[in-house]
């Protein structure tokens, strides 16, 4: 277990009083949360607690009816997903089969989109800027390929990969964007123990590189092992927040999960 007192930073991400409802059904009900820079923060909670809704609000996919979300003190509530990605927040998706016909290399190179500038004309001529950017991007993509250990998947289309490989590529895709904050939506679900260990190591390595990580995960063991702090959601509200030790001793958390 990582001692949370070692790392203290300013809030990089902060949400206040977020209300989100769909046709009267409340998904998030006055949620407050904050994430400190350079930490691994996990969000847990029973199914339907609002975990994925929260990610979708942060990344601009859902627009809360009320509330405030700031990233680096900048209001991001009214920005669209591609604008938020450009600010340095990248996310993975629960279902990793996002681009079935593309190879890992295609996807990772596509992940360099925000760091390249080539125009339509540059692309058509593939000369000068377009070519130079391609080679620079490839260098960074190759580093991430090594970092995530997917060398043998470079030219394999996603449709031909195993579920675990798809999860690896999905994380690699988020990493080539070189974000300051990365949000992982259930990276362990559906994986065997070996793959879980690979992904866990990857997350710890990301933390070593100074990235801020928000982890949504059901696997309690992983969450307890690597998180600095845990936010527990229930019925669209923050039930409690604390270190893994505090959370594991909290009676309300057990109740929420068991539905008592």
């Amino acid at each position: 277990m990582i001692d949370s007192n070692e790392v203290t930073g300013a809030n990089i991400l902060k949400g206040e009083d977020i209300h989100l409802s769909f046709d009267g059904v409340k998904a998030l009900d006055g949620l407050d949360f904050s994430v400190k820079a350079g930490r691994i923060v996990s969000v847990i909670g029973p199914n339907g607690a609002g975990k994925t809704c929260l990610i979708n609000c942060i990344t601009g996919y859902y627009r809360p009816q009320q509330g405030r979300i700031t990233f680096n003190r900048q209001d991001i509530l009214h920005q669209r997903p591609h604008q938020i990605a450009r600010l340095g927040i990248s996310r993975t998706f629960q279902d990793p089969t996002t681009y079935p016909s593309m190879t890992a290399l295609d996807i990772l190179m596509a992940g360099r989109y925000i760091h390249t500038r080539a125009t339509i004309l540059d692309a058509m001529l593939f000369f000068g800027r377009s070519r130079r950017e391609e080679l620079e991007s490839r260098q960074i993509v190759e580093e991430i390929i090594q970092f995530t250990q997917i060398e043998e998947l470079r030219k394999v289309p996603v449709a031909a990969m195993s579920f675990g490989q798809r999860k690896q590529v999905e994380i690699a895709r988020a990493l080539v964007m070189q974000p300051t904050l990365i949000i992982l939506d259930e990276p362990m679900s559906g994986l065997d123990e070996v793959m879980k260990e690979i992904i866990t190591d990857l997350i710890l390595n990301m933390f070593d590189r100074g990235m801020t990580i928000v982890l949504i995960e059901h696997d309690a063991q992983v969450v307890m092992e690597i998180s600095h702090s845990i936010i527990v959601l229930d019925n669209g509200r923050r039930l409690t927040e604390g270190t893994p030790r505090e959370i594991s001793l909290d009676k309300r958390v057990a109740e929420a999960y068991l539905g008592l």
Binding site: R80, H82, R91, P100, R112, T116, A123, L125, E134
Partner: protein, 350 residues
């Protein structure tokens, strides 16, 4: 024993279109054959085959554009014929009514068609799948209606006497000269298309096709990317339309039909959507079949009445396409890719 195929030692080598000396040689021989082809056909008095080749080249240019919009980006466009038509009419009007020189007229009519495509795409990009098809279908009929009812476009009679281009004082007249011009332009367009696929733009197109929701999280502005796809695709179409108009020296509404739009889609599907080589193969395959069936149907090889042979060739045409799509749903390009992988791995398992 090491598997066949070439090891690449730099990223620059990996993104090159031509990888080895042998590939350069194959390409040179292939282009050499294409250059000699009309001379052979000319010598054997098969000039209508040169006409066939010229139309095939024009359609390849047009379909490369549809391959960008529909093949790469997944925006099913039924309006491709309309963009070809606008390119053709644009060139005709600028050269005949405004006395512009050919190349300036071709460039401007191509760009203006691109801008019109942007306007068409604005309602289409907010929609998905079939709705895009319906918007582009509606656009086709609107464009046809406008052209039919304007004086400057010659109404139902169209415009005749469209001038031919000239290069360095040499006027491009006759099928063989046209063939060389079209061949050169087609090669350029193929290169542009390949460049798009190996660039930032092409990958944003593919990502939008595969999953437009997730693509926003890459920092890609999805509606803008769809606009770009329509813009680039219509540039190819308009270029092809301008060349077509000048080649046959007339533009008339019945040259550009909705059926053509549908056949262009068929060519992409049969070739392998999203692939430049696939688009070319699809055009050549479908045009060859229809030409061969046409030759057989109009000859007296088959001792049946001509109506029977003409209808039966159409049935055969349809059957071939249905069989192809059922047996090779990933298109002709998948056959080639499979061959390439097996060749590289040889003699290790397949």
């Amino acid at each position: 024993m090491r598997a066949r195929g070439r090891r690449k030692t730099s990223y620059a080598a990996d993104i090159a279109v031509i990888h080895s000396g042998r590939q350069w040689l194959t390409l040179a021989v292939f282009i050499g054959l294409l250059v000699v082809l009309p001379l052979v056909l000319n010598a054997t008095h098969n000039l209508n085959w040169v006409t066939f080749l010229n139309f095939t080249l024009i359609i390849i240019i047009a379909v490369l554009g549809l391959n960008v919009t529909t093949g790469m980006t997944g925006q099913v466009s039924l309006g491709h014929s309309a963009f070809i038509m606008l390119g053709g009419y644009g060139l005709a009007m600028l050269t005949l009514k405004a006395d512009w020189p050919f190349w300036a007229a071709l460039a401007v009519s191509t760009l203006v068609t691109g801008l019109i495509a942007l306007i068409v795409a604005i309602p289409a990009i907010r929609l998905k799948g079939f709705y895009v098809a319906v918007v582009t279908l509606a656009f086709f009929y609107i464009a046809q209606y406008v052209i039919r009812n304007l004086d400057i476009t010659g109404g139902t009679f169209g415009l005749i006497g469209i001038p031919s281009p000239s290069i360095a004082g040499m006027s491009i007249k006759g099928d063989v000269r046209w063939y060389y011009l079209l061949l050169a332009l087609t090669i350029l367009c193929v290169l542009v298309s390949v460049n798009i696929t190996r660039s930032r733009l092409g990958r944003s197109f593919l990502a939008v096709r595969d999953n437009d929701v997730a693509t926003a999280a890459l920092g890609v502005n999805v509606p803008l990317t769809k606009l770009r796809a329509f813009f680039v695709g219509s540039l190819f179409a308009a270029l092809a339309g301008g060349l077509w108009a000048s080649y046959v020296s007339v533009v008339r509404l019945d040259q550009f039909t909705i059926w053509d739009s549908i056949w262009y889609l068929g060519m992409i599907v049969i070739g392998g959507a999203g692939s430049t080589a696939g688009a070319i193969m699809g055009v050549i395959f479908l045009r060859l079949i229809s030409q061969i069936l046409h030759v057989i149907g109009t000859s007296d090889l088959i001792p049946l009445s001509s109506t029977v042979t003409i209808y039966s060739t159409q049935i055969i045409y349809g059957l071939v396409i249905i069989l192809f799509i059922t047996l090779k749903p990933m298109g002709m390009i998948s056959i080639w890719q499979k061959f390439k992988i097996n060749y590289k791995r040889w003699p290790f398992g397949v």
